[in-house]
Amino acid sequence: MFFRDQSEMLPARAAPITEVGIVGWLRINLFSSYPNSALTLVSLTLLLLVVPPFIDWVLIKAQFSGDTGEACSGIGACWAWVDQRLGQFFYGFYPAEAHWRVNVTAVLLVPAILYVLVDNLPGAKFGRWFSYVYPLLAAYLLVGGFGLEVISSDKFGGFMLNMIVGLTGIVLSLPIGVLLALGRQSRLPVIRLFSIAFIEAVRGVPLITLLFVAIVLLQLFLPPEVSLDQLLRVIIMVTLFASAYMAEVVRGGLQAIPKGQIEGAQAVGLGYWQTMRLIVLPQALRISIPGIVNTFIGLFKDTTLVIIIGLFDLLGHARLLQTNPDWIGDVDHEAYLFSAAVFFLVCFLMSRYSVSLEKQLSKDRH
């Protein structure tokens, strides 16, 4: 028989050092088993081999001033071009005296996006309304007219071009993709066949081909007096291309919704569009978030393909810099590295937003 008196009850003791604090964290995350420990050591070695030399090259030994490639030392990175060329990288050939219009558009973009993406911001009602009006406002600011000097779209370039094509594509491809996905499941054969044909045709062709069609072939089919702006054609093609992919991503989400959800909605008396808008799509889109954002990121990076049809986006200006007589041969890596960093930043933000949105939604519901 065993008996423990109240006065003899054991007090809680602090956990051993291997379970908590830095040591605990290291043991659990980095050295939990022999293979894990080996991987940790290999990774550390690789990081030590790569990171310090990289930082050394990019920053410490780097050259920051100078007017031509002559100034570049060759030991470290050469950022001397930034001073002259950064403007082109972001604005293309947009006239310098009108750069403020791009800046205002970019600054206003922040609240326009935030009011769509984040709930419960102060002034949400006005903010939502602002988000809807923003595309018109941006078009007015960038293109001009009504008192502002008109700037033709062939002056657009640099990262601004990537943002314009990318964001328009993102904003339009989701609703079009949703409609195509619903159309693909429609009971009406005409709508179903059109949706399938559109999705398969557009998805089965490289985007570059579509861009060529937009620039070269489209004019053959349009009446001669109709002349679509070149940038507009690119935006249309990129949007249609992304919409086809989006449709398939959304279809995956739609198919994951049990039939009982639709029956439940019908039994309550909701019509088709109400059922889709209130019951099916909120659930289907939530499941599809990773795929949707994946398509957004792909679309955004695809905007660099406009170089094929002679538009100079960020990457295009990086190449222009490399072929400039003043800099030729001296700044190849730096120009690409800079472009890559800018694209990475935007894509990484989209990815993080997607992760936080998923977390927030799963927290809300359970």
């Binding site: 009982g260 029956e263 359970h366």
Partner: protein, 257 residues
């Protein structure tokens, strides 16, 4: 054996649902065969039968979750045809409770209940919420109204589903095996709610194998097999003195345990 409808004792004679010569096929499979059934206002009908006998399909035809190829279904004077307006009208008259609840997981219990009143009946949100609260209280889950369906037990979910249907203030309630997906200890709480509903005078058509409940609540028992109505009887006669051999066999099998 006869498919004629005997008048149910005590219920008013005004038929709210009239089904005549209903035939339905799933592809080549003849799932409903010459169904004739008339249900009076405030009548409680319980349909039972082996699985695959067409009982669920029959009640799903009544609010047009399934369409039919032959015959006529008239609900409260509105014939169910391809006409979408008639279908919408009929669905407003009928509430339905499913085996799998079919609550909307992305909406709170309260939002599940106000959805129909707000979007179909075009009721102001506040009025809809008042109605929802009333019915949630009646099924005794008012305290759960801010939760999402996934946070509730099966029995609570099914009671919420009943409240959701009641919020449309239907004239008829259809129940498609409402307790089949529930753990045994939760069946009673749902049956209690349904019994209360029956006592309040709601017209109910219930597909169920809960025979104790059926004998208490039903005005009429219907037994289906092979897509047809095999026996229609009062509960007493149905359980004590079934007429058809098929019914006898079925009852002996399900009442044994």
């Amino acid at each position: 054996m006869s498919t004629e409808t005997p008048e149910a004792a005590g219920a008013s004679a005004v038929p709210i649902i009239e089904i005549s010569n209903l035939n339905k096929w799933f592809g080549a499979f003849h799932v409903l065969r010459d169904i004739n059934l008339s249900v009076a206002a405030q009548e409680r009908v319980v349909i039972c039968g082996p699985s695959g006998s067409g009982k669920s399909t029959l009640i799903r035809c009544i609010n047009r979750l399934e369409d039919h190829q032959e015959g006529l279904i008239v609900v409260d004077g509105i014939p169910l045809t391809r006409n979408i307006k008639n279908i919408d009208q009929v669905r407003r008259e009928i509430g339905m409770v499913f085996q799998q609840f079919n609550l909307f997981p992305h909406l709170t219990i309260l939002e599940n209940c106000t959805l129909g009143p707000v979007w179909v009946r075009k009721m102001p949100r506040q009025a809809a919420e008042e109605i929802a609260m009333k019915f949630l209280e009646r099924v005794q889950i008012l305290d759960q109204s801010a939760k999402y369906p996934g946070q509730l037990s099966g029995g609570q979910q099914q009671r919420a589903a009943i409240a959701r249907a009641l919020c449309m203030e239907p004239r008829v309630m259809l129940f498609d095996e409402p307790t089949s997906a529930l753990d045994p200890e939760m069946i009673k709480e749902v049956l209690d709610v349904m019994t209360g509903l029956a006592e309040s005078g709601m017209t109910m058509i219930i597909v169920s194998h809960e025979m104790g409940f059926a004998s208490q609540v039903a005005d009429r028992m219907i037994f289906m097999d092979d897509g047809q109505i095999v026996e229609v009887n009062t509960p007493q006669a149905f359980f004590n003195n079934p007429q058809s051999d098929r019914t006898k066999l079925f009852l002996s099998q399900i009442l044994r345990h």
